[in-house]
Amino acid sequence: MLHSKTFVKKTRGGKVNKQVREHYLRDDIYCGAPICKLCDSSAARLSPSASTILLLDTNVVLNQIDLLENPAIDDVVMLSVVLDEVKNKNMGVYNRVRALCSNSLRRFFVFANEHHKDTFVKEMAKESKNDRNDRAIRVAAQWYQSHLGGAARILLITNDKENKRKAIAEGISAETIESYVKSLDRPDLLDLVVQPSSEDVEMEEVEDLRPSKRKVIYTEHKPMSEITSGLHRGIYHQGKLRVNRYNPFEAYVGSESIGDEIIIYGRTNMNRAFDGDIVAVELLPQDQWHEEKSLSIADEEDEEEDVHLVPSSADDAPRTTNLVQGCSGDTNAVSSRPSGCVVGIIKRNWHSYCGSLEPMPLPAGSGGTAHALFVSKDRRIPKIRIHTRQLENLLDKRIIVAVDSWDRLSRYPSGHYVRTIGEIGDRDTESEVVLIENDINSRPFSSQVLACLPPLPWSVSSEDLANPVRQDLRDLRVFSVDPPGCKDIDDALHCTALPSGNFEVGVHIADVTNFVHPGSPLDDEASQRGTSVYLVERRIDMLPKPLTEDICSLRSDVERLAFSVIWEMTPEADIISTRYTKSVIKSCAALSYIEAQARMDDSRLMDPLTTDLRNMNVLAKKMRSRRIERGALTLASAEVKFQIDTETHDPLDIGMYQIREANQMVEEFMLAANVSVADKILKHFSLCSLLRRHPSPTREMLEPLLRTAAAVGLNLDVSSSKALAESLDRAVGDDPYFNKLIRILATRCMTQAVYFCSGDLSPPEYHHYGLAAPLYTHFTSPIRRYADVIVHRLLSASLGIYKLPSIFQDRSQLTSIADNLNYRHRNAQMASRASVELHTLIYFRKRPTDTEARVVKIRSNGFIVFVPKYVF
């Protein structure tokens, strides 16, 4: 049956358009209850023994999503009218609801009430949209009641008093969410229930000991229409709010309408905006503009993490801009930055935060609701007020809290507790906090993912050998060199001396794409994870262990599938020819760096393997010197190695990671392989290749380095990477650590290398500054990086042995994949560093130590030192 839906929409051009849409009503929509005799119950999701079936109101879904995700709430019918409203208001909650509905373990059923001929509700004259939707919900509840007879009780959950009253009047049982949860008799669930914001008004201010005199602390946000008109007229400016990590009361809004960043000082001016929100800012009158505090300059420069993002990336770290020459003619060195205050929030960026509760005295008598202040680990987030029944339990725990609202009368935002992670200070808890903060998925692989793996024990089969595409290279003397105790070996090398005097050198990479097929759950999961994360005590894999440590890993003395890059080189390491092929190899030795180095150094050993190693080393040295000629940078990073007690997993000793010749040899060939592959895939797929670039650092970014160097009388030439490399080489002082320190400082000024889709940028922008290479990609570690999996697929397709999945034809999707990989890579790095920091703290917690240090930076409130022994 056809019905027409008419509504009026206003287009951007200011025109008013009347839109007419068809709206078909059906009679083949089923109710989803298996107890129902009338409907086809093949699609039924509700449980057959359900005593109560819940119907939820939109606001309940929007506000109580954390409660709904708890398995105690089940047998819920989601109406399509509610789903549509949720989708329009909050995409994040909508996605979570959809995940719940498609989760086969939870009994949530989606009922398309808008298209069912009995439950469709036509708009009455003078009825607002909300009223009409509420009426639709009530009609659907009534239909369910009559449809199921008395087999189950239908309960409408709504916090809207009007709706509840009307529902009861029409004969539908209705309750508020609180009373329902209370009836379930589960006190822990009550914590998850979010209180409506009207109750906030009656709450006491925990900090303010004066009796709650409700005073308006923040100015009201302007309505959206005023903001839009203000933006048009240029009195308001839009931008993303970035809170200063070291001073949470200071924030910046990068705005395009002013070339500069607007500073927001103080909580009042920030007006309830969070870090990451898109806000509208009004500039304060010029006489109120704060002068650049020297504190803030120092804060900006001293980014402890070297996470300077590419200038064109979406979220820029605050950087000093040189545009602040506003006070021309002012001989005052300190100039003022435009300051402003937030007048409205265009888009909220609220999610869940890790942290713990502020210590407070327990309320007299247990079992009551207490109001506590939650302090997030991320200093940029203000304290959040929650109330809980289990205060004593939570005081020493790390918990996760989600934010609900922040009204004008309350100093802090209100939120609710989501779950506990563990005890404060406990190593596992803190590690988990690190993971959560960096959005790293450490859950075990689902059964669907594991189902994609081939059955164990796995070995190279006769079909693999008979495959004409695969070359049989088992007779080559292939070996691998990796860190000690490494089980996921993804690269192996061989070097054969040819009769002509040239060398045949091969890099063999684990053939991961043979097992990970596009579109499979395994591939989707790996694509989401993006990379393996290396924490101090454990590794969070991108692919399941059977693949990483056995089936794909190029262990010694077993036949394995590989993807090979084979060069013919002269003794001067000039590449004469390159070929790529899939192969079967059998590694004869899995050496560690120390072993390989020892073999090469021991002049008594003359066996073929050692000869190969030495030949490779010679070639590698030549390749390296050529690279440095071209301007490759060797920067020192403060990499720390921990020795972990095998039992307690506590750090036993900290030492520096030593770089040996063997490391550099392997690195050199890996780089060469990456460059060759980049060349090949770009030739075939100039618009959809996944490459890696390193943008050159700008003058501004190198400012801190130049200034510090100048302070010790050192002049660094930063005109090109080669010049910088040579300057760094020449920077030697009396102190043996001086050079290392300068290199570490230089590393901190660099931009980050990022993945990108070749179709998005022009060839000159493909340049990799650090390696001084015009083209680069990642090919050599598909076991731990998803980018390499993509490049493997591209390379196979360029060889003509593989059909590229259709996702490569969609450039916007490729770009979003590249963005996700960059995001995950960044997070993995930050998590690694945080884990190192954590273990360092744990190590020193028990062993206070006195040691030598170097002063690196002086701030107005302290100074930063460098400890050579522990290298940080």
């Binding site: 839109q19 068809e22 078909y24 009503l25 399509s80 034809q809």
Partner: protein
């Protein structure tokens, strides 16, 4: 943007394999030799046929067959935004050409040499699938005018969104940017006379989508036959049979 919900319903409540509501009426324009109104959902099209009659332009006269001319125009108010130039723009010219070629293939033109058959199609409301509606309306109008044809030509469009083949796209689904396949089909002899496609589609999926459109054409052909049968009964009734 979700065009097919996880429950299997499209934006307007249809299932992916379902067409919109069709309505047809014969004899809307009294003065024309044959005319018909064809509605597919919210798309409404009037077709009028004038002919066979004497060729107006002697130079275009063909000595052994009839000359078929076609013009497609959209009313000012047919689309959401008011159009300024109803005729003569490139899209109208292209569609006129397409309709002409399709109808020409199935009219027995050799039976009417040195004459002219004019098919005029006017779109009153456009909501996706105008091309198909025009061809269907033209078929009915030609039948109403009593012009001999090989077979009825029916046409239907289909597309591929959210990894599902969809039959009979409306305007919202059409403007989503996904592929759009229009098929013109002769049901009795089982042959395809018109095939047009926008955007990209892998070959194996294309076959599914085209097959779906052909099924749609067959369903429309059944409906058209019913309408014509009904119409003939009415005519007989009026003549007192």
């Amino acid at each position: 943007m979700e065009f097919v919900s996880p429950e299997g319903l499209r934006l307007d409540g249809r299932r992916p394999m379902e067409m919109r509501q069709i309505r047809a009426e014969i004899g809307a324009v009294a003065k024309a030799d044959g005319s018909a109104v064809f509605e597919m959902g919210n798309t409404k099209v009037i077709a009028a046929v004038y002919g066979p009659r004497e060729v107006q332009n002697r130079t275009q006269q063909i000595n052994d067959q009839a000359l078929v001319r076609c013009e497609y125009s959209m009313a000012n108010f047919s689309t959401g935004d008011r159009m300024r130039k109803p005729k003569g723009d490139r899209r109208s010219t292209e569609i006129s050409l397409v309709i002409r070629q399709t109808m020409e293939a199935c009219i027995l033109t050799h039976l009417m040499p040195r004459s002219q058959i004019d098919i005029f199609v006017q779109v009153l409301q456009a909501d996706g699938g105008t091309r198909s509606a025009c061809i269907n309306a033209a078929t009915l109008a030609l039948a109403d005018a009593g012009i001999p044809m090989r077979d009825l030509v029916t046409s239907c469009s289909s597309g591929y969104l959210n990894s599902t083949p969809l039959l009979d796209l409306n305007y919202v689904e059409d403007s989503a940017g996904g592929p759009d396949v229009t098929v013109g089909f002769l049901p009795k002899v089982d042959k395809v006379t018109l095939l047009q496609m926008d955007s990209k589609l892998p070959i194996d999926i294309f076959e599914n989508v085209m097959q779906l459109a052909i099924e749609g054409c067959k369903a429309i052909a059944n409906y058209i036959r019913e309408i014509m049968l009904e119409n003939t009964k009415q005519l007989e009734y009026r003549r007192g049979i």
